[in-house]
């Protein structure tokens, strides 16, 4: 039984672990061997910010018909953050009522940028950069699109 689910833009994402655990653990252990202490700490931070309270995976979590945040969206966000250069600060994680999981870089109410995930492979991007609005759908192929990195850089010092 396969334990991997393919997503169009994110490659193979492990969503459930059963008989493949030993193999997966071995691969992770091997790859972890090459991570520096700061990279491991970063991964821990990513895991921490993505640990959403269970309530957000239930329908109507805001009392106004919000869609649940799918596990696949959390996994996409994890892959995105693991690919994000460590020179960029980690964002705040914000569940959104339409079932997206947002990663928000915020400087002030007029300078913010959000990359949102719905577990279907696309990146829903939107932001206010001073007087300008920026928005659009992007995809991760080999990595995070340069435009997204440029926009995050405009928000972060």
């Amino acid at each position: 039984m396969s334990t991997l689910t393919a997503y169009p833009s994110f490659g193979a994402v492990s969503t459930k672990r059963s008989q493949g655990d030993n193999v997966t653990n071995a691969i992770e252990a091997k790859s972890s061997h090459f991570l520096t202490a700061s990279e491991l700490a970063r991964r821990d931070e990513i895991d921490t910010i993505l640990a959403l309270p269970q309530q957000y995976q239930n329908a109507n979590w805001n009392g106004e018909g919000a869609a649940p945040i799918p596990e696949a969206a959390i996994e996409e966000a994890r892959i995105f953050l693991q690919k994000l250069p460590t020179t960029f600060p980690l964002p705040e994680v914000t569940p959104e009522p339409d079932g997206y999981l947002g990663l928000e870089w915020y400087a002030n109410k007029s300078l913010l940028y959000v990359v949102s995930f719905d577990g279907k492979g696309a990146l829903s991007c939107s932001g206010l950069i001073g007087p300008d609005r920026t928005y659009g759908t992007r995809y991760m192929d080999d990595g995070i699109p340069a435009e997204i990195l440029r926009n995050i850089a405009k928000i972060t010092p």
Binding site: G63, E64, G65, E96, P97, L112, S126
Partner: protein
């Protein structure tokens, strides 16, 4: 309670729950103004001629039973909502003071951007002072 037709200068309140306000600067998170995809409506209340105390009483009566504790609100004029190419649709029973922000675009990314603008315009949040009792 008198009713009145919608005026561009009239303010509406979006009541805010846990997670809607940033502790850093009391600004409102955009998710507070982002509609669910299932109905594309954002629920607000008309607050003309109401004291602050009466506005919070409205939250307790009409919002908390469904959404849980209201911790604050963001006020917007109808004019700025219209400037964002949205409309305000009041309930038929105007005494309810309830209305929906409707007319959201199909494009999810644009919706999310408009929500950011509305959150910006409504910030900082007016926080509700909850008594210890």
């Amino acid at each position: 309670m008198p009713s009145q037709s919608l005026q561009p200068s009239e303010n509406v309140s979006r009541f805010l729950i846990e997670g809607d306000i940033r502790a850093k600067d009391d600004s409102i998170r955009p998710g507070a103004f982002l509609p669910s995809a299932s109905n594309l409506k954002v629920s607000v209340f008309r607050i003309y001629e109401l004291s602050a105390e009466s506005i919070w009483a409205l939250a307790v009566e009409k919002v908390e039973p469904r959404r849980g504790p209201v911790i604050g609100r963001g006020d917007l004029s109808i004019e700025v909502i219209i400037e964002n190419n949205l409309q305000v649709a009041p309930d038929r029973d105007s005494l309810s003071r309830h209305a929906d922000i409707v007319g959201w675009p199909e494009d999810r990314n644009l919706r999310a951007t408009i929500a950011k603008d509305l959150a910006r315009l409504a910030s900082p949040a007016k926080k509700r002072e909850l008594s210890a009792n």
